[in-house]
Point group: C2
Chain length 214, copies 2
Amino acid sequence: MVLPRAAKTQRRTRIQEEKEERILEAALEVFATNGFRGSTIDQIADVAGMSKPNLLYYFRTKEAMHRALIERVLDTWLDPLRAFDAEGNPVTEIRSYIRRKLEMSRDFPRESRLFANEILQGAPHIEDELVGPLKQLVDEKAQVIRAWAKAGKIAKCDPYHLIFSIWATTQHYADFDVQVRAVLGEDLAGEGRFEDAARFLEQLFLHGLTPQGG
Amino acid sequence: MVLPRAAKTQRRTRIQEEKEERILEAALEVFATNGFRGSTIDQIADVAGMSKPNLLYYFRTKEAMHRALIERVLDTWLDPLRAFDAEGNPVTEIRSYIRRKLEMSRDFPRESRLFANEILQGAPHIEDELVGPLKQLVDEKAQVIRAWAKAGKIAKCDPYHLIFSIWATTQHYADFDVQVRAVLGEDLAGEGRFEDAARFLEQLFLHGLTPQGG
DNA sequence: TGATAATTTGACCGGTTGGTAAACATTATG
DNA sequence: CATAATGTTTACCAACCGGTCAAATTATCA
């Protein structure tokens, strides 16, 4: 039989499991740094240490590879937002959301860049995810934030733009890493920059720049 | 003569002026939405309404096109930061810097995406600009901010991360426009979103989320 | 106007890219 | 161990891509 994947068999082979894993890992590396159009199957094959036709045996097209990767990553990517707890203390929740997002930028920068590339180029492959599940999740959390503001537990503000600004400030350290390093210079650009960022962002979101706020 | 551009002539022809303008405008459109590798000369030629060899008559390579574009755009892109005035009122300065950056995201989203694409993919073509002129400018302004903090005019904070967070939050509305629109939905995603963003960011940077701050 | 330079185009080239076909190798299973 | 299913590779193709070339066209100006 020439047909790939579980077309006939019910369960996935051990080899399938392993190889698809290796391919998606390689695809993440390549897509994240080159974007979809800028990436080639050969590059991914190289990184994965496999031949190009072998890759295409597991994923019939480049698009299929990309789709599978996005699906797999999107879920965990939204975990921090899902963890946002309506019952918790507002300040604590926001603070730990920022911290978690920043940790993700530090620990999973490739995933961040994968999405950044995709969205930057008009989200041609994930627009459905954006207007569907993502919007729904954000709407839900925006309601929570609005309730907190109404109850006077945090300042009155637009919850959507609050979420945007948390995304922007935290993902910046993954997506614009090269620029951050360049500007900070060799001495400041060590791993300590994430702790500095965390400290700064906490102050910013809790007190802003008004003196004596920290 | 077959040699392009002002190789022999001193002044640039009117035609040269016009065509190079048209090409760079088209290049901005294409590079901003596809990144360097993802863009083709044919695409740019299409948008410019010229033939491919004609484009290559004015810019010998795709790289030359990209370089010329970046050089032209980088300068005006940094204008808002340059306008940052050490003598001015700190709060006013920061507030108008944010406003100006947000206006640039609204009025020149393609320029923002051009840089975002470039930096996201490791800044292979502009790294020198980053560690050189950009770092120098930021260092200079960081000193100004630090002085303000020391004088107690604004809260003590890391000036670099402050600048990063202003960049991140404002450019987000250009770079991640598709996502912003998707999340806000049709009713909220009108042009008013920039005013909402401005209001939110002003509050954020001046007072944070502490109640009664606005 | 005519000569000369500047501009534009169609045909083309070598290398790359996404993807296929088929032969070959390996593994699972009766 | 036979044999069918699964996995891998080599060779290949057509489309695309960056770039060249020479010929044709248009603008400039003495």
